[in-house]
Amino acid sequence: MRSPVDLWVYLSTSPLIWLTLTVCTWIAASELSVRLKRNPLVNPVLTSIIFLSAVMTVFHIPYEKFFAGAQFVHFLLGPATVAIAVPLYLQWDEVKRVLVPIGVALVVGSLAAVLSVVLLGTLIGLPRDMMISFLPKSATAGVAMAISSSLGGNPSLTAVLVILTGIIGALIVTPLMNRMGIRDYAARGFAVGLTSHGIGTARAYEVDPTAGLFAGIAMALNAIATSLIVPLAARLLLGP
């Protein structure tokens, strides 16, 4: 009979335990979020990351070991990005009816997201490599991380910035829009989907179904727009 310590030593080196822990943590975090009426502060992505990071720190597990298991989930980001084509296709009739406002707001909004980072980052004096990791923060995580790593940014840092941008947008959108006196829910939804991708879209669906639909459309389109704008902005504004 082996001791439980041997079992721990055995399991902690296998990818299985980290994959299982990642999926189970996500399920628990989602449940917590539903119980707390989807308050953006208990966003399941954020709570999962905090919990797993704490486990890694307490048990001195190197990130590489954790990622050996979690990479099977991470890999699905690519197919999930391709999958955005499906809701876009299903909602295309809605998009077509307001094609021009959508197109104009997409280009202007996507530029605002990227250029505001360049401006603020330069004023504050963020290091260049960190700024690269910031630029695609309004795109959905899979796309943002791919852009970041292709330009020499840090995809892990980008992932966290993307998630934080999602949470910030979801928190401020309703008070901000109310203060601006905007009651057009298609426009409100589009803005939060463009700014805060999936997390903003989830928030929009809670407020109004039209807002949710337009948020989803904005998220899909901004994934494409960001991947075109960021490499250009990085080359033109930040230099090689």
């Binding site: 720190t57 699905l76 603020l120």
Partner: protein, 122 residues
């Protein structure tokens, strides 16, 4: 379901291959997204659903999109020392940029809709 997953993987593979060959400055999965969208539209025009199972597979992935961000997010622990020294700057950039983007986008959407007198909505 399996065929749906196969379709998603196939379009990602197509996208990645195209990016590799043409050196497009766009992530492969985004090209895959555009190609799948075009294929679905083409299918609708010709009256045949080309990938009947792709909706189920896409729905399953997208309804748990958050889970897929977690492994990379945990990686920030190993960069904590880098992030810690810039934490104030990071917070300012993220909050101001998000508020600015929200305001600019919503205003542009409404202005463009009014200007072009869109047929949709009131």
């Amino acid at each position: 379901m399996l065929r749906g997953i196969a379709a998603l993987l196939l379009f990602q593979l197509l996208g990645e291959s195209l990016v590799f060959l043409t050196k497009l400055p766009v992530p492969g999965p985004v090209v895959g997204l555009v190609l799948l969208f075009l294929a679905l539209q083409f299918g609708r025009r010709t009256g045949r659903a080309p990938f009947p199972q792709v909706e189920g597979a896409a729905g399953a992935l997208l309804s748990n999109l958050g889970l897929l961000f977690v492994p990379a997010g945990v990686g920030v622990v190993s960069l904590w020392s880098v992030v810690q020294s810039e934490i104030g700057a990071i917070a300012v950039v993220l909050i101001v940029s998000a508020a600015f983007t929200l305001a600019v986008t919503v205003w542009t959407f409404i202005a463009a809709r009014r200007f072009f007198d869109g047929k949709w909505g009131a």
